[in-house]
Amino acid sequence: MNAALQPSVIGVQAPRKYRVLQRFLANKGAVIGAICLLLFVAVAILAPWISPHDPLKANFLSVRKPPSAEFWLGTDELGRDLLSRLIWGTRSSLLAGVVSVSIAMLIGVPLGLLAGYFGGWLDALVSRVTDALLSCPFLVLAIALGAFLGPSLGNAMIAIGLSAMPIFVRLTRGQVLAVRHEDYLEGARAIGLPHRWIILRYVLPNVQSPLVVQATLTIASAILAEASLSFLGLGQQAPQPSWGSMLTTAKNFLEQAPWMSIVPGLAIYITVLSFNLLGDGLRDALDPKS
């Protein structure tokens, strides 16, 4: 009976997945974004093996050297190899993006599901708190929370995750409200299935597509926010490398060592652009109207 109620079983699941994949692959921008992201993930995983120098080792004989055969991207104010720091910085940026969005989703999605499904005072309370949190700009909230938790990469991820959480509450709640009175849910309730079972087996699978798209786009914002917090000194702490903190240092040596600022910024830009392209591609591919 349960299986019969499940829309994915009633419908034609495999062809839909195939159509979604086809639509996604037809979008050149999304494919380029996905390939770039795979490359960044590979760089992050292989960092210990592909990094040409120790990213933390200062070398006072090679301070602020321009790009050369030995140091492909040059060195920083302590003589550290910029390419190695960039490679290791990929880890903190990707980690920050994924972990913060996971935190946001782990709190936001269940809250949105409960508020949308049960309605009443719970919905009113969750919605008012969400409105209150959304009335503060994302970055301002992240800075305030980051300062409260103290400067570190872990705390920056928590701060960004909590700041991004209301977006997921609102989106999930809206999606649940849209499906709440669908026949398959009425049927599930009519046969007396427990609420927990209905929410997890029938509601969640039917609201997950926009959540996946939002998660991809929020990772892009989270990477930007982590770089911003690190730029302000609230993210990854010295001497550990991160793209944002590399830019903070570079700002002080614009005249003497302009190369220090170019590559970390480009890395942030390409990663965020790739996530945005991927998110746009997923949205178009998953949109039933397209």
Partner: protein
């Protein structure tokens, strides 16, 4: 319309109460003792006790909250613990700086984003459309503090055309003010231009598919007249609403832009007050930002009703 505005204002009260509770709790949770920060090297218990009594930090938390809210309602947001200036006065002196920057940034965003969106929609599926869409997405993806640093490097350090930092008010010296604010406003406007372009394109595509545009074309009107007079006027509704909402987003961007260009505005004050543990300023600033956001949302709703004749008639 007045009834609509009033009902929206009343509806915003619970949100504002929650924001005030959130702001108050958050600042109480900030690490460090503000009295120790104020006292500096002075660690005399009598002095610390005096400061606690002066700023009523010994009162129970609910009393402190009610006092703060009561004073805030009369426009008194307390005194800065560091500069000993009234917070309202501080906000009043910084807000015009950020407002000028935001206004210029919005002008740049509108000039870049809206025409680009119209062109992309009219030439849908062509190289121009793809190039504009990639440019818009780039605007959204580029870290504005990096764009700021790069522009300083090119236009201030290398070419020496524009100043790298500082602020001059438009009322004091309009030309110098424009020179000083041009780079930061461009940085701030880039992301907004990207967002505006994407929304303008979508709105225009929607309108260009409609029957009345098809009729206008069938009547033999010039393409420019069809696009600008018939299509764009109707696509304008979501754009106007979005522009209003984006003003709020500007503040988030201003935090970093003002930091990079050393502009003594509202955004820089937020960062400085958080880092200096200047609790009263943090409270006041976040409360003001939240009120601003709520009012901008209300303004967007009102504008939407004013522009949309169907909604206007319904009111």
């Amino acid at each position: 319309m007045m009834r609509f505005i009033l009902s929206r204002l009343i509806g915003a009260i619970p949100t504002l109460i929650l924001v005030s509770l959130f702001v108050f709790t958050l600042q109480k949770l900030l690490p460090g003792d503000p009295v120790l920060a104020m006292a500096g090297e002075e660690r005399d218990p009598a002095v610390l006790e005096y400061l606690r009594a002066k700023y009523r930090l010994d009162d129970p938390l609910p009393t402190q909250y009610l006092n703060w809210v009561g004073n805030a309602l009369t426009g008194d947001l307390g005194m800065s613990l560091r500069t000993e200036q009234p917070v309202t006065e501080l906000i009043g002196s910084k807000l015009p700086v950020t407002f000028q920057l935001s206004l210029l940034a919005m002008c740049i965003a509108l000039v870049m984003g809206v025409p680009a969106g119209i062109i992309a929609a009219v030439r849908k599926g062509t190289a121009v459309d793809y190039a504009t869409s990639v440019a818009a997405l780039s605007g959204i993806s580029i870290p504005n503090f990096w764009l700021g640093i790069t522009l300083i490097l090119i236009f201030s350090v290398k070419l020496q055309w524009l100043p790298a930092s500082g602020y001059v008010s438009f009322t004091d010296d309009p030309w110098q003010a424009l020179r000083t604010l041009l780079l930061p406003a461009f940085v701030l406007g880039t992301a907004l231009a990207g967002t505006l372009m994407r929304h303008t394109r979508n709105a225009m595509l929607e309108v260009l598919r409609s029957d009345y545009v098809r009729t206008a074309k069938a009547k033999g009107l010039y393409a420019r007249v069809v696009v600008l007079k018939h299509a764009f006027r109707n696509a304008l509704m979501p754009i106007v609403t979005l522009t209003t909402l984006l003003f709020g987003e500007l503040l988030g961007g201003a935090v970093l832009t003002e930091q990079v260009f050393s502009i003594p505005g509202f955004g820089k004050m937020i960062v400085d007050s958080v880092f200096n543990r200047d609790y009263a300023v943090v409270q006041g600033v976040v409360l003001c930002v939240a009120i601003g956001f709520i009012l901008l949302n209300l303004l967007a709703d009102v504008l939407y009703r004013l522009i949309n004749p169907r909604l206007r008639t319904a009111t």
